[in-house]
């Protein structure tokens, strides 16, 4: 414990140096700005800024890049809440309740919850990383392909609960999402699947194209169709900050989200993207106000936002202890470190203690910066809603088009987004939910990959899923969830609850 304090003291002395503070602030600011612009992600920004970091000290460079990463995550929630535009996997869930809150005139409260929840979760996860990072590595390594498959299978089963209303429609959308996820090059054989000879599809359908189309573009079409609803958003701005009641409701959700996110974030590959979904499912089941879900429940913003940020922090554990990046942003950071002559991995703690502990402490500093930048800006963001819709929606469309184009520098993705916009409009007419589709789209291909890898390694023996304790317990929980959903008594109970709520 004493060494932990000495280490943290060393870390804070590094993180609080004037230069590092400035670059943490700069990173968080740039990150927020690009996060707010739909589609322009941290990967593109960090790769653009990479050459600039060659001239900096490695610690400063990584602190700035990390700031961009957190900033982008937070900025992404802002557009998700205000404009129904999820730019990345984690903010899809924020859209569900966050945008409803904004329509109810509680945009300020939703943004405030996201900022405070993220800061709290980030602080807790930072301490966890500092105290037990190296120990938790063994958790990450104990997950084999069979265990990942069962974890994601559990996720998919429970995600049917996400659907509001008909379970059949929910499952239908999940299956459709899984189907869309299969488009592209097969990981096992290199074979092209469902690409119909279109070269642009050989790497699959883009997540951002689906998410922005299904949510953002479809919402614009719906709003234009109903002149009366166009003004709803702009007239009701309401109080900017949380009421006492809202605060009380958000606290337990933030706590649950923090725990869930910290644990799932440790798993490389998929852990972090599961965390927000997972937290939303948990809140829907256990929160006291579960009947309010679907109408703008603050728990549905607080939990997932906390989980998402906690996972973003704890996903540094595999990077710092194994040298294995959990996602594309982390891969860029490894690249930046290697160019600076630093090898991320277990030896980094001993070889570069100032970098290791400085980075950990700067995570917390970065979260603080985000709070400092964003709390005063909530008023400004909410003012955005007062812009007349006839000016606002063309601007959103333009930013969406620029954003989606900039991901692969490819016009095809813009057409794809338009297509999914029309499809999303059709879906809302048919009362089909977009979120289960996206969950299926994200989890389906990962599940397939792990299933086939597990089967390859076991030479086709399915017992591998039952013999491994982690996998067996996940499957058992999934079976219970499935039974509970299919039992007629419980099912009608769910429908009654839905009817009360909606």
């Amino acid at each position: 414990m004493e060494t932990l304090f000495t280490n943290l003291a060393l870390g804070f002395s590094v993180a609080f140096s004037f230069e590092n503070l400035i670059f943490a602030l700069l990173g968080a600011f740039i990150g927020t700005a690009i996060g707010v612009l739909p589609g322009i992600g941290p990967v593109a920004t960090i790769s653009l800024l990479l050459p600039i970091t060659f001239g900096m000290s490695p610690t400063t460079a990584i602190i700035m890049l990390a700031g961009i990463y957190y900033g982008a995550q937070y900025g992404g929630s802002t557009t998700a809440i205000l404009l129904n535009l999820p730019g990345e996997v984690s903010s899809v869930v924020t859209v569900i309740e966050g945008y409803k809150m904004a329509r109810n005139g509680r945009a300020g409260a939703a943004l405030c919850t996201a900022a405070l929840g993220s800061f709290f979760a980030g602080s807790v996860a930072t301490v966890v990383v500092a105290a037990s990072g190296p120990l938790l590595t063994s958790v990450a390594l104990s997950f084999g392909p069979a265990d990942y498959f069962s974890l994601m299978f559990l996720g998919l089963i429970i995600s049917a609960v996400l659907a509001q209303g008909s379970i059949v429609k929910g499952i239908g959308m999940v299956v459709l999402g899984v189907g869309l996820g299969l488009v592209g090059t097969d990981v096992q054989t290199g074979q092209q699947r469902f690409t119909f000879g279109v070269p642009e599809l050989s790497d699959g359908v883009g997540f951002v194209a689906i998410a922005m189309g299904m949510f953002g573009i479809a919402e614009i079409i719906l709003n234009l169709e109903r002149p009366e609803s166009r003004n709803v958003l702009t007239n009701k701005v309401g109080s900017l900050y949380l009421t006492r009641e809202e605060f009380r409701r958000a606290v337990p959700s933030v706590l649950r989200g923090t725990v869930l996110g910290t644990v799932l974030g440790i798993l490389p590959g998929g852990g972090a993207s599961l965390s927000a979904f997972g937290s939303y499912m948990v809140e829907r089941k256990v929160s006291k106000n579960r009947h309010l879900f679907g109408t703008g429940a603050i728990e549905g913003v607080a939990g997932p936002e906390a989980a998402n940020n906690a996972a973003a922090q704890s996903s540094f554990i595999p990077l710092l202890t194994l040298g294995i990046p959990a996602n594309a942003v982390m891969a860029l950071m490894v690249g930046a470190l290697i160019i600076q002559g630093i090898q991320p991995g277990p030896r980094m703690v001993e070889a570069q203690p100032d970098l290791f502990w400085g980075l950990i402490c700067s995570m917390w500093v970065g979260n603080l910066m985000l709070l400092v930048i964003n709390l005063p800006m909530i008023g400004m963001w909410v003012k955005l809603l007062e812009v007349p819709y006839r000016h606002l929606y063309p601007a959103i469309m333009v930013f969406c088009a620029i954003g989606i184009y900039s991901i692969n520098n490819n016009v095809f993705d813009v057409y794809l987004m338009v297509l999914f916009g029309l499809f999303g409009y059709l879906c809302s007419k048919l009362k089909l939910e977009g979120a289960p589709l996206l969950i299926g789209f994200v989890l389906g291909p990962m599940m397939e990959e792990h299933l086939r890898r597990a089967m390859l390694l076991s030479r086709g023996d399915v017992m591998v899923f039952i013999e491994r304790p982690i996998s067996a317990s996940m499957l058992a929980i999934a079976a219970i969830a499935l039974l509970a959903m299919l039992l007629p008594g419980l099912r009608s109970g769910k429908e009654k609850a839905m009817a009360e709520g909606g």
Binding site: T185, T189, Q191, D203, L322, N409, N410, R453
Partner: protein, 330 residues
Amino acid sequence: MTGRLTRRAIAAGTLIAGASLLTAPRPLRAQGFPSGPIRLVVPFAPGGSTDLTARLVADGLGQRLGVPVVVENRPGAGATTGSQTVADAAPDGQTLVMSNIASHAISPALYGNLRYDPVRSFTHIAMVITNPSVWVVNPRSEIANLADLVRAAKAKPGGLDMASSGAGSSNHLLLVRFSELAGIEHTHIPFRGAGPAMTAVIAGQVPMMSDSLPSAAAHIRQGSVRAIAISSAQRHPAFPDVPTFREQGFDLSSTSWFALSGPAGMPAPVVERLHRETMAVIASPESRQRFAELGGTPGDMTPAQFTTFVAEEVARWAPVVRASGATPAS
């Protein structure tokens, strides 16, 4: 009035003097090149080794040419999407591609419907860096060399599990070539990139992996995996303890490579200028140091040698791709 005239005259005089100073010592200077910012297309997503190498080169080239060299990532279809864009561009030296073993040697065999010819649709300018493959095992594994690996493969039905960063990657194809040569079977376990595959080896889920030296170097140095063979012709100076395939009795050598190419039909002076400046960039001490850290060897080929090299690579990999079962998309 006079004042203004004089000022203009001085300005013009300075310009002329400056221009002649610039041109005089460089008779080979290409006419009108570079005429503006140069696009360097990277046919992979940001963050990979191609992207990192390209950004190092773009930084140095930009300083030497006096115009910005902008890296543009156009990933997709085994690096062929971005390469196609450059094959279709005007051959004025303003659009270049970071050509590599995937886009210009393996994908032509893998993708049946390619519109470009890896040799004839491009002007090959300069080899930038070559990286050997390295085979690694879990440090607790009993496999210490290739002979042990062959023995273990023969003992297991279906052969040994062997991981790589993906089906059709140069590292996967090396597994195919080796298995053929050694007369063994293997079960290929492909991953989505080198990172997850490395995790599986460290965790002991897969006994071995064929990886590129740059991505495996850190793990070998810190002892989380053990290297049993390197695919270059000679041992690597940074890893003098790792024996080559040849030393262990297997006549195999293979290196992945990253290089600079442009559209077919570029003017010779432009090619020469770009070749010279690229060579200067990779010869600078800081580039050498960075390449050494990445585990690569700086390239050393004339444009003509490099063009012949690409043709040889295409011929070398086509039969291996067919043998691997990684099916071409038609």
